[in-house]
Symmetry: C2
Subunit: 352 residues, 2 copies
């Protein structure tokens, strides 16, 4: 092979299989999936991890536990509607709650950069405290590490959560069947765009407020309203509603049909999405939950959600079709239909 | 106040209360304690967190669980005897095991820097896998975030663990009484000095190998050998043996007397400690456990530990005295006595 041919082959190889971590590997799209499936699961995989759930279900012989972990590296730390501290608590509470678990304890690790003003850490801890009180959970253990100021930009938080799953709750894509409908507790796209606006256009007049909130109370209310009728719960964070619904369609094997007219997007969110050229369907939420329930209880569920402060705009946004093709389809406002896919990973990362 | 007086006052204030995070805040010494006690506990404190145990004991009404979290930011990632992946698994397994818990699951979060060679991540994941198999535990859930390459140096790992505590195990400083002795499973100071040598003097002939290992099997063997006789278990990581023993003396209220002649330090560890001007007592270990047991079963315990590959050099290294002054004292090789205190935080950090 000539040196020229070798160069071309190397370039093709490099393009085909990036040998270095890219920002998009952490954005929750297809690239994240690929990293996990090609590098993590072959090394660490087991029956529990391979499920890739928001929270793992462990130790079933002793009464099931749910366990979850998440890192938070969002910049800026503070954004309209929340900060990294509130995000860390709500993210973990919500992962437990959508697994059907009652939170039993939260562990909080901080990685601080040398030189971080202690007052910044204090403000973030105040916010952690407020969110934990709101969710009625305790921080039970923690860890603090400090790294050189050139090695991390200020503060990363990592939260793990553990919860107990009431014996009769069986949730998951396998429970999702034709005849069920999808319900969400409000408008989409707020968290991701709030952070992007705060980071990229801090001087703009347009303010988008993050929806970051602990959903365990709302989800408790849902289980009380329609006991044993909830088939599936997921919080549309990284990857947005498109990610949750396309994953769900693939996993349950049926077609999911979303109704664009029923999916609420606040005007300021729509404007911000246009600025960034993004689809609100792909944008992360931090105070939303998608539920699949049988159609007969859907109105009762929506009424119960609307009675809760975090569910005032709850709505039925789609349904599970009988077609067994595992695709997610959007019925658009103008009467067309398009396939909804998980974003490739181009969504601006670091909004968590 | 004159400008000069103002300057002096400001300098005094700044010295009295550093307003910024320092590396030593993460080193596990007195400064870490102070940060936790002055900033974290006032905001997040509760009955469980305030105990500041290696692993929190939660949800006792349903059969107690132990929960722990730790971040790993060690540099270099790889050092003689281990790497950041092995360290993350062993650290978390050991925190559970010294709480008397049987590990039920480990959660692993990765914070990767953009540009990290994927092969480095793969090597670290291989090491995670090996350590998890050694400890016979599963990674049950995980999370991956990517940050800009100027914002983190390569890779941080964060592990959380949850375990079940067999009903009859009651461990802790409150169980430690005069007449008990302290046992350790081998020589001290290896992990911290292995990392410091690898980082600061990579070209040196002197090689110190980290002791990083999962201790759950050894601790199971100890519980089998002397059932119900173990009063206290702690792994002397950050803060070293000095940190564990001075904390224990303060917490149990009795004097702890350590016998320097019985505390083993390998020659290469002693040499390395001299190079850095450090006392091996203050150096972190990652494969050691300190146990307090009544004197009558101590020989049986030591024999059981010596029968295990991780306890071949187990020894009795001290005793709990009747003096109720809560101090830790070292009987030195030359027949003197000195007080052992927790280091202030000057130990080179980032060895975890």
């Amino acid at each position: 092979m000539s040196p020229q041919e070798q160069l071309v082959e190397n370039a093709v190889k490099a393009k085909a299989k990036p040998a270095r971590i890219q920002l998009a590997h952490g954005a929750g799209g297809q690239l994240t999936d690929e990293l996990v499936k090609s590098h993590v699961l072959p090394r660490l995989g087991n029956d529990v991890l391979n499920e890739l759930l928001d929270a793992a279900i462990i130790d079933p012989q002793h009464g099931s536990l749910a366990m979850t972990i998440d890192s938070f590296v969002v910049r800026p730390w503070k954004f309209p509607g929340g900060d990294i501290g509130r995000l860390a608590i709500c993210g973990t509470i919500n992962d437990l709650a959508v697994s059907g678990a009652k939170p039993a304890g939260i562990a909080l690790a901080m990685i601080l950069a040398e030189g971080l003003p202690i007052s910044v850490m204090d403000d973030i801890l105040d916010s952690v405290s407020t969110a934990a009180k709101e969710a009625q959970v305790q921080i039970v253990t923690g860890d603090t590490k400090v790294v050189g100021h050139d090695q991390a930009d200020g503060i990363f938080l990592i939260t793990a959560g553990v919860g107990r799953i009431p014996a009769r709750r069986t949730l998951g894509p396998a429970q999702v069947k034709p005849g069920q409908v999808l319900v969400i507790n409000g408008p989409i796209g707020e968290h991701g765009l709030a952070v992007m606006m705060a980071r990229e256009l801090p001087e703009a007049q347009l303010t988008v407020k993050s929806d970051v909130a602990p959903l365990n109370g709302l989800i408790d209310a849902a289980f009380s309203a329609v006991p044993n009728a909830i088939a599936f719960l997921r919080d549309p964070t990284r990857g947005g509603l498109a990610g949750v619904c396309s994953d769900l369609a693939r996993q349950c094997g049926f077609r999911i049909i979303l109704d664009e007219a029923a999916i609420q997007v606040r005007p300021e969110v729509r404007s911000a999405a246009e600025i960034f050229g993004l689809d609100p369907l792909d944008i992360a939420n931090e105070g939303k939950v998608v539920m699949a329930v049988s159609e007969r209880v859907a109105r009762r569920l929506v009424a119960a959600l609307r009675a809760h402060p975090l569910g005032r705009d709850a709505a039925i946004i789609g349904r599970v079709d009988t077609a067994e093709d595992g695709i997610c389809e959007l019925q658009t406002l103008i009467g067309g239909r398009r396939i909804v896919q998980k974003a490739h990973g181009e969504e601006p990362p670091r909004i968590f």
